[in-house]
């Protein structure tokens, strides 16, 4: 590999890592901080991607679709929390697994009924459709770089929200001791509804932003579910920075695994996970 290719591969790794962080960010909130085993995370991602497809066909612009889709996803999350998840906080993890697995099947079937089983594409907004030349024959789509910037901003924003704001403090306190927080006069139900809805909105945002580069297809949710859990667990459950670092580590492992050790490429992510967890069983950044 010559030096230019190496640099481009580093860029690929960073960009893929940031995309993975985006995909996992909703799960960081819902699983990492609220402690709900949410197997339906991938379905929320899928809902986002299909929203992007539907709203883009309607409005003709992805940015507009995201502006419309985000509040929709947030409300959708709040309704789900009210109807289903709010009854599960005090129950066993197994029941969360059952519920969220059931949701996967329901969402998949609803999607099939509503939009069918074809593969769809979403157009990149005109503004970002350019490519930047990197070498004599290779260029880099501007849209991917834009996503990377959004991911970084998102990581910063999430960190600020969880660690630096009063709301974040209440969220963290709630994840340690629900009853105590309630006793202090905080409306824990509203708080959790908000956080859960935010998690769903983030998962949907990931789906919407990724839709133009990943395309929109049946079963797309399951492809991101496992990698999202891997990232949250490697990063240290509940840590936003941890998830970011873990996503970048996975991005590098996957990219260079494919190039240097093609026969082991499929294993690479899980090897990294095994090594990290042997070294730090609670993840790179332990929860404070």
């Amino acid at each position: 590999m010559d030096f230019v290719s190496f640099l481009i591969q580093v860029l690929n790794s960073l960009q893929y890592g940031l995309l993975l962080f985006l995909v996992a960010s909703g799960l960081t909130l819902v699983f990492g901080i609220m402690g709900i085993i949410n197997l339906a995370h991938g379905s929320f991602y899928m809902v986002g991607a299909y929203l992007a497809f539907a709203l883009t066909s309607l409005t003709g612009n992805l940015m507009l679709a995201i502006a419309l889709g985000l509040p929709l996803a947030f409300v959708f999350g709040a309704i789900l929390e009210w109807a289903l998840f709010s009854h599960l906080y005090k129950r066993d993890h197994l029941e969360q697994v059952l519920l969220t697995y059931g949701l996967i099947l329901i969402f998949e079937e609803l999607r099939s009924l509503a939009v069918g089983d074809d593969v769809h594409g979403v157009t990149i907004p005109e503004l970002f459709s350019a490519s930047i030349p990197l070498s004599d024959n290779l260029s880099y789509p501007l849209y991917r770089l834009v996503i990377s910037v959004v991911c970084l901003a998102l990581a910063g924003g999430l960190y600020w929200l969880i660690q630096k704001t009063r709301l974040g403090m209440m969220i963290r306190a709630g994840s340690h001791d629900r009853d105590m927080v309630k006793a202090l006069g905080i409306d824990i139900n509203l708080l959790y509804r908000t956080v859960f809805a935010l998690g769903v909105a983030l998962a949907a945002l990931a789906g919407m932003l990724a839709a133009p580069i990943s395309s929109v297809y049946p079963g797309m949710g399951s492809s991101v579910l496992i990698i999202s859990f891997v990232i949250v667990v490697i990063g240290g459950v509940g840590s936003v920075w941890g998830a970011l670092v873990a996503a970048l580590v996975i991005g590098f492992a996957d990219t260079f695994g494919k190039v240097l050790l093609p026969d082991l490429a499929g294993l690479m992510v899980y090897l990294v996970m095994a090594v990290v967890l042997l070294w730090r069983p609670e993840g790179i950044f332990k929860k404070a």
């Binding site: 074809d118 594409g121 030349p133 290779l138 297809y217 499929g266």
Partner: protein, 394 residues
């Protein structure tokens, strides 16, 4: 009390016996006019659209025949195989043993089809495969009772190997998923391409169903081959073609693929697919009257345009009908059906085809070019191409 219950149970059993006894002759009388077809196809998951198209095609032919095949009324048992190989043996066994089907039709996913073929061999049930292209099915695992109405992975890829060499490319990089269909496609391409004097510089594989292609695009850019050959399908195909275009490679390094790259995916590619050349046993504007009639009827029935999968389902029904014709309305005799199917000439919308010794279609492979929303016919890449059926002893 205990005695009373025993008595009642004995009475019940006796009554059931009488009822069953009465049903048996009735069943036997009906068997001569009915054929039980077990459709085992994906109706959910990634391949749901393909499973539906195959079912539509099959049922359309039955409908054209007045709801009967070779004079037999068709009774369906339908199972959603979910494209899940781990459930395949159980699903296929259920159809054969519980529903007593005379013929199994399925499926899309090669892993599932391999398990079905094993059940079919063990139970000696007639099996018609309307899609799954794994070379083994009509290769090392071929069997007298296993037929295929579609293609082998080798066929379209082999045809493309010759085309790419003819177009003057000497040095090619291949990319596909590391699973058997991908590897067999690359092997077929390589065989023809290197026979014609070309050289495959590098074979790139990524784990299925990973779609992060960027590292490979970077590698292709630095290797600078004359052309790239790929096998991808569905969402992966869309993403690869879009990424290849967005990376600016489409301008400098032509991309070729097995036809699945651009089947049912052109719309989603949003223009990135324009001009791509692929090879397959079907194209969008064949001129034979059979195809035109088929497309018209299909569009009227199902309100969508048919695709290659619908054709394969339609032809599965045609093959079965040819077999059943030989019985002349008599009792279902599998051996006679097989014999008739082996020598059949199927008047398919794709163009007529016969079956090889290993029961795979001997068919024309077309070169197609993406124009607008269609895979427009460019020409015949290989006339009557037969899969070599390596490892088949039959």
């Amino acid at each position: 009390m205990k005695n009373a219950r025993m008595n009642r149970r004995t009475l019940m059993q006796a009554m059931l016996g009488v009822i069953a006894g009465a049903l048996v002759p009735l069943g036997a009388a009906q068997a001569a006019e009915k054929i039980k077809v077990g459709l085992m196809l994906p109706y959910t998951g990634t391949y749901a659209a393909l499973g539906t198209a195959i079912t539509n095609g099959f049922k359309q032919y039955v409908q054209e025949q007045g709801g009967k095949l070779g004079g037999y009324e068709v009774e369906y048992s339908v199972v959603d195989d979910e494209s899940d190989p781990s459930k395949a043996t159980e699903n296929a066994s259920k159809l054969v043993k519980r529903d007593n089907v005379d013929v199994l039709v399925g499926t899309v996913h090669s892993g599932v089809a391999l398990a079905m073929a094993k059940v079919a061999r063990d139970t000696k049930t007639l099996l018609i495969i309307p899609n799954a292209g794994a070379d083994e099915l009509t290769g090392p695992l071929c069997a007298p009772n296993v037929f295929r109405s579609s293609f082998s992975a080798w066929q379209p890829a082999y045809a493309m190997g010759k085309i790419v060499a003819e177009r003057g490319h000497k040095n090619v990089v291949t990319v596909t998923w590391k699973y058997s269909f991908g590897e067999q496609s690359v092997a077929g391409f390589k065989e023809a391409f290197e026979k014609a004097g070309g050289k495959v510089a590098k074979e790139l594989y990524l784990p299925f169903p990973n779609v992060e292609f960027q590292p490979f695009l970077t590698e292709i850019a630095s290797l600078k081959p004359d052309a790239v050959f790929v096998f991808f399908a569905g969402g992966g195909a869309v993403k690869f073609v879009k990424d290849y275009d967005a990376a600016g490679l489409k301008k400098s390094i032509p991309l070729y693929g097995s036809g699945f790259l651009t089947d049912g995916t052109i719309d989603a590619m949003g223009g990135s697919g324009e001009g791509l050349l692929t090879t397959l046993h079907y194209a969008d504007n064949l001129t034979n009257p059979k195809d035109q009639a088929f497309r018209k009827a299909y569009a009227m029935n199902y309100k969508i345009q048919p695709d290659v999968y619908a054709v394969q389902g339609y032809d599965a029904a045609q093959m079965l009908k040819t077999g059943l014709d030989s019985l002349k309305g008599g009792k279902f005799d599998k051996d006679a059906v097989i014999k008739a199917m082996e020598t059949a000439k199927i008047d398919s919308p794709r163009g007529a085809f016969t079956l090889s010794k290993a029961h795979n279609p001997v068919q024309d492979i077309y070169l197609r070019k993406v124009e607008g929303r269609d895979n427009k016919l460019v020409g015949v890449a290989e006339k009557a191409l037969a899969d070599p059926a390596r490892g088949c002893r039959m």
